[in-house]
Symmetry: D4
Subunit: 255 residues, 8 copies
Amino acid sequence: MNAERIAALLSDVAAGRVSVSEAMEHLAQLPFVAGAEVIADTHRHLRTGEAEAVFCAGKTPAQAATAFAALAEGGEGPILATRAEAAHRSAIAQTVPGVVLHEVARMAVLPGTRREDSHVCVVCAGTSDLPVAEEAAVTAEALGMTVTRLRDVGVAGLHRLLAHLPLLRRVDCVVAVAGMEGALPSVLAGLVTCPVIAVPTSIGYGAAFGGLAPLLAMLNSCAPGVAVVNIDNGFGAAVVSGRLARRLQFRLAER
Amino acid sequence: MNAERIAALLSDVAAGRVSVSEAMEHLAQLPFVAGAEVIADTHRHLRTGEAEAVFCAGKTPAQAATAFAALAEGGEGPILATRAEAAHRSAIAQTVPGVVLHEVARMAVLPGTRREDSHVCVVCAGTSDLPVAEEAAVTAEALGMTVTRLRDVGVAGLHRLLAHLPLLRRVDCVVAVAGMEGALPSVLAGLVTCPVIAVPTSIGYGAAFGGLAPLLAMLNSCAPGVAVVNIDNGFGAAVVSGRLARRLQFRLAER
Amino acid sequence: MNAERIAALLSDVAAGRVSVSEAMEHLAQLPFVAGAEVIADTHRHLRTGEAEAVFCAGKTPAQAATAFAALAEGGEGPILATRAEAAHRSAIAQTVPGVVLHEVARMAVLPGTRREDSHVCVVCAGTSDLPVAEEAAVTAEALGMTVTRLRDVGVAGLHRLLAHLPLLRRVDCVVAVAGMEGALPSVLAGLVTCPVIAVPTSIGYGAAFGGLAPLLAMLNSCAPGVAVVNIDNGFGAAVVSGRLARRLQFRLAER
Amino acid sequence: MNAERIAALLSDVAAGRVSVSEAMEHLAQLPFVAGAEVIADTHRHLRTGEAEAVFCAGKTPAQAATAFAALAEGGEGPILATRAEAAHRSAIAQTVPGVVLHEVARMAVLPGTRREDSHVCVVCAGTSDLPVAEEAAVTAEALGMTVTRLRDVGVAGLHRLLAHLPLLRRVDCVVAVAGMEGALPSVLAGLVTCPVIAVPTSIGYGAAFGGLAPLLAMLNSCAPGVAVVNIDNGFGAAVVSGRLARRLQFRLAER
Amino acid sequence: MNAERIAALLSDVAAGRVSVSEAMEHLAQLPFVAGAEVIADTHRHLRTGEAEAVFCAGKTPAQAATAFAALAEGGEGPILATRAEAAHRSAIAQTVPGVVLHEVARMAVLPGTRREDSHVCVVCAGTSDLPVAEEAAVTAEALGMTVTRLRDVGVAGLHRLLAHLPLLRRVDCVVAVAGMEGALPSVLAGLVTCPVIAVPTSIGYGAAFGGLAPLLAMLNSCAPGVAVVNIDNGFGAAVVSGRLARRLQFRLAER
Amino acid sequence: MNAERIAALLSDVAAGRVSVSEAMEHLAQLPFVAGAEVIADTHRHLRTGEAEAVFCAGKTPAQAATAFAALAEGGEGPILATRAEAAHRSAIAQTVPGVVLHEVARMAVLPGTRREDSHVCVVCAGTSDLPVAEEAAVTAEALGMTVTRLRDVGVAGLHRLLAHLPLLRRVDCVVAVAGMEGALPSVLAGLVTCPVIAVPTSIGYGAAFGGLAPLLAMLNSCAPGVAVVNIDNGFGAAVVSGRLARRLQFRLAER
Amino acid sequence: MNAERIAALLSDVAAGRVSVSEAMEHLAQLPFVAGAEVIADTHRHLRTGEAEAVFCAGKTPAQAATAFAALAEGGEGPILATRAEAAHRSAIAQTVPGVVLHEVARMAVLPGTRREDSHVCVVCAGTSDLPVAEEAAVTAEALGMTVTRLRDVGVAGLHRLLAHLPLLRRVDCVVAVAGMEGALPSVLAGLVTCPVIAVPTSIGYGAAFGGLAPLLAMLNSCAPGVAVVNIDNGFGAAVVSGRLARRLQFRLAER
Amino acid sequence: MNAERIAALLSDVAAGRVSVSEAMEHLAQLPFVAGAEVIADTHRHLRTGEAEAVFCAGKTPAQAATAFAALAEGGEGPILATRAEAAHRSAIAQTVPGVVLHEVARMAVLPGTRREDSHVCVVCAGTSDLPVAEEAAVTAEALGMTVTRLRDVGVAGLHRLLAHLPLLRRVDCVVAVAGMEGALPSVLAGLVTCPVIAVPTSIGYGAAFGGLAPLLAMLNSCAPGVAVVNIDNGFGAAVVSGRLARRLQFRLAER
């Protein structure tokens, strides 16, 4: 219930077209009214292209496909399924037409139409980090951004990283994916001027403690400009970069 | 040493104006050359206004003032001192003219000149979180952004948060500062469309474990769009938002 | 051996119907007598309807069914089996007649007869939390309470929660089930006046650390009125709410 | 802005005493209106006697006194200050008349008028736990409940606990405060039928890890019926028991 | 109320000297009766010499002295005060005559009279562990045991340990006190045949994490025969060895 | 090479039956000689009945059987296999004659001949703790002790524990096995006078953190007289009680 | 591209054999040139024999074989595959001729030709630690070192360790592999004069917490001279000892 | 008692100069004989120059000075005091002549005479790490090595690190000191060929958790060749590098 509708209601009351008690009835769901803006916000979300995602881990393929289909009906995309094993992916593809499957990223994507004038670079060190990096890259592409992937640029071989410096200094956002000692975001944040969204991965063993080691390292980055998402959360990092892109778009459009 | 200078050098060699051994001499500092862009980057940093900061904790007032003065000589500001107790602040103010002191934020700031066309909102729940929130706000202002502060908008009283929704939906970045259960960024990320940079604080006791509780909560936000910095790191959150602002500026300037 | 039986025994001694040594013989199990009230308490438990439960995890279906049958013989219900996989459930159902099976809650229930004049609301955020929420709801129903279930009311979409405010402010107890950042109980405790029993779940990944994140968040709730049970312990939360209901019943009956 | 005031406003509109635009003006703060119920709730809180509390740790005596005075002006009490050292307590007492000081509980209380027909028993094991137990007891008394204190009833000397069994089985709620191994709530929950609110304390050393040991023990109670609050949070436990009392009151009043 | 008193009571009832209701009155405190043996046990404790101890940490000197005096009045010793700083010690010595002070062990002891035919060896590695080792040694002496102290026998210089092998193989119990890597108990348990009671200390820094490192090491001893007490709990280790001694005494006395 | 053999060798040298160089040859393995007492100790171990044990977890059945057979050849028993699954047990039984299998304890035992005049009571709370309790009980029996098992005596139903008090006060050692909140050893140590060896189990879920909760609880026992072994280490607890028994035997034999 | 090649290129430019633009083309990969020394370093690595390794965990056999083959093509060995299960090993052996398989070490090795005049001793306590110890030993052999393996020299039987003292004091480096309480490196560091590289293993259960216990113990070694690698990282320890060997070689060659 | 002395003893026995029982008497202290080599080893330690160190933390200045003096009497140096505050340092300097004080390193050193033909580079990132880095550098110098210090070479400014590459590739050992995210050793290990001894520092705040973050990062280094010592343990890292130097010396001397 927005301002115009309230004004109309008040006019009706003033004009005697609506009684006080009827008006009260309309306002009875005040909490809903209160939340109106918020509800609208959800719809706007879908319109602006923030990914609705089905987290498939712990769901049966059928459950995942059902959830995906429900989202696909309501909105215009992109719709994403993350942590989707082969069985989830094929179940979703069989249920919803137009879905694109990504094996390494373990994702199924129903593409949207929005495109952002924004460029994000997804960087990872080892091939073991690829599933998480791909989850970030595929999500970012689904959100409409231009994505460049850099692989095998771990800090143990700095020259490989330095070789890409010109590119890295040109993009709007860097998503840095790393397991083990998680040093990549610190090194990157000292080399670029855009925000670095760091994704620790659970790759490693022993004292990596399931990703705790790179998580702590990234939170303690000596180079400012780094912000961190949950372990293995490539999707989350891409959404942060997508919000950044959308804000950019909005501001550019204002001009 | 950039491409043009190398081409010129090679031409000189080809023309016999420079001997092979002289050319080798120039290239002798190849590692430096390799790092040249990086070094330049540091200077550009200063030019673009990313805060150089003196972390005062564990330093004597004299040490802090000396470090601050050194940075102030080299650059044009802003220069920041963080975690500066009263003694640090007065030592710095006595050493460097033009410094502005901030008691709650525990900071000393030598202002810079750059202004960003960017608006960041620093939100915190309790008055105990104010020092961290102020560190973020003062840093963001020093970086040239417009800052709005919202206080006392904890999740235990949602209506106070909802009252500021229109503002929150208008800014370019939200910095959400919270201790205890750290729920504020999750709630905010469901209400706004810009990135939410979350700062857990060490406020609390018992099972807060020095900020571990809100840190984990923020990393596990059910609402995507949240990225997290270190516990009590208001400065770091502001720098991330500043990189975002600078990127925005750069892209707007391209137009 | 209760007070009446002791009085009778003493009368028999006084009347010479029982010798002192015979009486001593009866009292030989003094530790049992000492514990008499406690033992009686156990029986009263069964009478008052506190659920006896078989925790099936780590038991074979046969073991679970045997344990369930033993409890079912001794008492009049409700008897509950929790963490019961399909095999456990069918083994129990084949062994004890009248058992009702609950797939999502992973439970088998032999209903009791007691009804409480008490209303509990079981709230959860995500569908992944449903098994824990259902364990709470089914247990609360077995204990005789009226149960309302609210799903999908996570803090990332506050309007969905606010829509149920009138209901939430009417019930005697709220059981709030949440994984990830576990913010739900804090938000709820600021909106209702009854106790909020919080159940962290192990839903999540990475820095959720098997439920540690929401557990810490709930213990640090900025809104007072929250008390917490073990991770995934829907059964335990329902029993706390059941004790509350029984106390209410007892006090209402006193009038 | 509550229902009556909205109805009055609508009547004024209907009667032409208030123009539509003026009414809109009143409703301009719609977000506030949206939150009206919530805001009202806060006021009701004060009326129903839930303690507003000033957490003094980390505040200067002057800050604590100012905060306390602000709350005291707005409401009718009880107003509580917790974690109040001697200096906090005397500053508060000098600022607000009628305040009662509690040394062991480290509290200052401006009493309210409401009385609950509810009886809570605060149990603790060692004298070291007394400050936390007293915080619970004083808070519960401030909330209007009848409070019985049991001390020195640790599980290392069970007979002392068993001696109080009749009392323990009669009260509406037990608040069990314990450090070290934190076994008291488990033992109690097997002996009583009302809810047991457990408060782990930071008393202990070494592997107590600042209260982690009793916290984990209480969360893993083998006896159902236990719910846990934060380490050393006597205030929080009392508020939970107070919500229970208020609910009881409300239901008794319905009769 | 023991068996004889119950028999006498029953005889009185049988003889008509006591009415049934009077007998019931006597038995009214059944929980006390139930706990009778336990209460007696406490007294027997004092008789058998298990130390009653005042833990001084967190107590004022006056509080410690009062508690100590109360114990000293009721029993015949030994009475111990542990973690007693200089102020605690002198307050206790001024309050209770006959108290012996131990500076390194941070203890005050009112000696008892019982002597055990038992020999315990308290072993520690570094001088930093001495306060904990002395707490164990002084407690064991207070409990009546013969105590031999071995210092500077860390595993980094095995020959020093091997030099004492004949002694170590002769005693009834070894108390092994160690911080840092806590390897001493494992090495000892492979060399002796009596139980090894291990005491981790908080000596160390960094990854010692306040005694966590030696605690975990001792719990994981590759040599069976080791049991562990809390970090820095020299008192507790001595009490365990004292129980062993008393059991030995009891069995030897049976012969 | 023991004292007698060295004396004989020296006599042979003195008598000219062995040359100095031959004697040197015999002593060539001086490090072994140096360790002679230790080596002898190992043999004495076998003679005195301390169990040699094969830890089967992580071994194939064949590997376990081979290791078991090797130990069985060298010594006279008891030889124990712990954590032996069905396949391990049958492989061992087929390889070594005379082995006794224990399903619940997951053990295979080649009995020894030594008997101790010592009585140990193995107490556990829940049926889930039985495998660990049985590991302790079977090991203690293999070491020659008389073992009484008490089950279902958790602290949630104290009367069951109190009923066994006379027995518990008569034994030489109590092994207390408990998961969840691990309160059993604290309660027991307040009721008996012999040492209580506490075994935390990994039984539980959520905040039990694989046995961390009862481990910490047991280390923080408010009742002195408790010493703790590793999580699930029933074998280790029994060996400690066995060392105690052997010491008792040795001292009784001295008389 | 090394110094000689750059000089040659410059000569060609000077001589007119190569045009400036062609030279620029060669230098086009300036970032690589910038990193030239680093790249050369990689090649030198291969020449000097530092193992390139394929970490097979989480890779399919085909992926592992492909990665191994790629490394084998580029360099002259040694090439190592670690954490290689049977399937990985046979896939690699079928793909690359000349590979040697190691079952216990779970490795596949393509031998190199370099030999170091260096002797490393790999020591472990239990047979369960053998896979990690073998990974260290096989890697060290592949790196060209002479390796002696000592097994079953745990601290619970010191004489076995002392028997090898002459050998241990002769080698250039000791790699000490231990799980459980991890005391071996501390004991060794007190007996030898060379560096001790400690490898904690995940062998153990309960409070071993996946290798945390020995890791902390080793970091807190009371004997200086110990440095630690990640849990189960036998490969890493061997590479450290290999760097030591190579440095030794280099310095010996200088003479 | 060494081989010669044993041979002489045997000859005496053979010649009748010593009786068998007298010889047995001499051999009675066999454990001492066993430990003879080890004892000698200690002396050799002093001779070879491994630092004996007094850890001053937790000691009074007088205690530290006494311990230092005792070591200084027995050996010829170097003798080191670490963690020595100003008071410790002056107390030591007043007690032992010839001591050199180091303020930043918090050390007092009595120099030794031995010099190693070895070069170690101590690298640190921030000025806050200087005390730990200086502890390493001063210790290494005391052990006779040539030491180069590199400061301010954090990974946030890679060019500063790359500038020192030629030096770093020339030394025998790198000691890398870093707090915060601890990325420095990983980066270094990818650039040099000698061993990298990593020292995490407790510098940082929040999620640095007292040095846990860099500790875990360093243990998980993606570049092999890194071994780690305890948090803040500059002394320990230097001793490891010293053992390496001594081994080098020994091998060079063999030539």
